[in-house]
Symmetry: C2
Subunit: 339 residues, 2 copies
DNA sequence: CTGAAAGCGCTAACAA
DNA sequence: TTGTTAGCGCTTTCAG
């Protein structure tokens, strides 16, 4: 194994030379093309092995015009929900022969614009994007040159494919479950100052609809507002409501993180869960399964989300050029120990 | 905006034609080359804008031989620790002008081999890889053609760069902290059947060293074994120890997930944390911060891990060809409410 | 069944 | 300061 030549620099032509055949023939065996005589195949394979030849994927991409890769642009990969979506989408893509390039926008407006504009040009065949800072109108204006599908709510109908759950309906389902459990004073934790996404509003709407439908008046005191997205922000929001004497026997949370915050605030205040207060999270991430008590949570069907997003994207990548489609995937409520 | 031409298919040559200049000139303005007359620059920029030209990154890569991308190969992106490492490495890489391609091996031997062999050939300039199923000897044998650095322990010195924390020392530190807190019967949760990685053994070693150094005899009953890596496996391991009458006043866990399992098993058994039993997790992932009570955890310096791994890799990508280097990064113990 | 040669779109000498 | 042109390594007609 006297490897004098530097690894990775062996080209198709080198193999062809050594085997005494043309590039086309080598290419044929590399691709397992069937009409190649056994002897030819062996000879070429021997040359490939001897040289340790590995096709240069970049060159292949340029020649074929296909990258076999899709970008997944999300705010932060280390947030449970996004990490789980990344896994699901990665697996779904893998099943269809694609790989994913994870692009973190880190909640930066410019990073999000770049995703739409040109960041991935020629690098990927399509992009799946969950925006957090730019709205659908701007996305439409930027008109990416690459097939695109959006994850998450769309503030208004736009001419871009997107897939989401029915946030309003899911919130209503959650509140109804709480009501069935005998709860009457249900708090919503929380709207976040500076959150421009539509989901919270849709969830808040569902929360209100369910209450009204049950003949329970709305109490503005029960809609908590937080100063940020962090655990401490959530703890603070709920703790100060408690300190202010706001009465409640359940908390519907905007995400599992805030549900963890609720659990903490409740523990600090000496309230028992679920005896005194029920807690319902949102997203059904791993933390809901791992916490004690196990956290009940509104569960978007993440696999359906991934599969649908990929399917829409694949249509586009194969040339579909119709108007933007709008898909709703199922959700459910996973009951554990906090309700 | 009558876009007759299909988006994304505008080439450098098209811009050159429209502007009435050569490709080189267009290239110059695209790259902000300084010696370009203002008028020329304006003319070209106008053509670029009119056509909506965006460089094809794949072609650029082929021409330059640089991809500006590194692969991060990890078992599962939705495990807290890996998600956090992905974020850190992504940010570190970003600061140096690189992007990362996350490759999930999903604990599959073949997937891991592929990473080393040819999966990324020509796609990335380097690879950062945390193996879970193949050992360093095999990695050495496969001799990747792309610069590589390993994350995590190395069973024996091999000729590949790698970076890790001192697992034995960290375990010792953890146990010593528990001892200082007055604990004497410290359980280790847990070794996992079928786990081939070295870390658990190193940690177990540190655990034993600390006990011995404190003049406390080892009790084999306190070293628990689990049937798998999941939460339930951990709960079961600890619960059956409790059921078997094993006495302990602290639990050192192999990771935060098992610490969450410990919290659950302890709650089921009616043991209070930390009054009756202290729990110390490992990895200091987000779940440690979010759980109630807040989980104390052994904290590898993930940023240092990311920065060091990247630095080693960058050396290699720039041609360094010396023997494998072995870097140890700091760890600490974050005390929260469970100790 | 195998070979020759023209690209894929961009970069970077080298010229002018 | 700007233009010409030969690659980068692979795919893919089109011949033979």
């Amino acid at each position: 194994m006297a490897s004098g030549r530097s690894a990775g620099r062996v080209r198709l032509q080198d193999v062809a030379d050594l085997a005494g055949v043309s590039m086309k023939t080598v290419s044929n065996v590399v691709h397992d093309y069937e009409h190649v005589s056994a002897s030819m195949r062996d000879k070429v394979q021997a040359a490939i092995d001897e040289l340790g030849y590995r096709p240069n994927l970049t060159a292949r991409r340029l020649a074929t015009g296909k990258t076999g890769m899709i970008a997944l642009a999300i705010p932060e990969i280390d947030q449970f929900y996004f990490a789980e979506m990344a896994r699901n989408i990665g697996e779904e893509a893998g099943r269809h022969g694609y790989r994913i390039l994870v692009e973190q926008t880190l909640n930066d407006v410019e990073a999000e614009r770049a995703v739409i504009r040109d960041r991935e040009e020629g690098l990927v065949d399509g992009v799946i994007f969950q925006p957090a800072r730019i709205d659908t109108l701007e996305i439409a204006r930027l008109r990416p040159g690459t097939p695109l599908v959006l994850l998450g709510e769309a503030a208004r109908p736009v001419n871009t494919d997107h897939v989401m759950i029915d946030n309003t309906r899911a919130a209503r389902d959650g509140v109804e479950m709480l009501l069935r459990g005998g709860r009457r004073r249900i708090a919503f934790l929380a709207t976040v100052r500076g959150d421009i996404t539509e989901s919270t509003h849709l969830r808040l709407l569902g929360y209100q609809e369910a209450l009204l439908a049950a003949g329970i008046g709305l109490d503005a005191q029960l809609v908590l507002q937080s100063d940020g997205f962090g655990l401490d922000d959530g703890v603070r929001a709920l703790s100060s409501a408690i300190a202010a004497g706001v009465e409640f026997d359940a908390v519907l949370c905007r995400d599992d993180l805030f549900a963890m915050a609720a659990l903490r605030a409740l523990a600090l205040a000496g309230r028992r869960v679920p005896a005194d207060v029920s807690v319902l999270g949102w997203d059904d991430t791993a933390v809901a399964r791992y916490s004690t008590p196990g956290l009940s949570s509104v569960a978007p069907d993440k696999r359906a989300l991934a599969a649908t997003a990929f399917a829409l994207l694949e249509d586009r990548m194969q040339g579909f050029d119709g108007p933007g489609r709008h898909e709703i995937v199922p959700h459910s409520i996973v009951e554990r120990a906090t309700t």
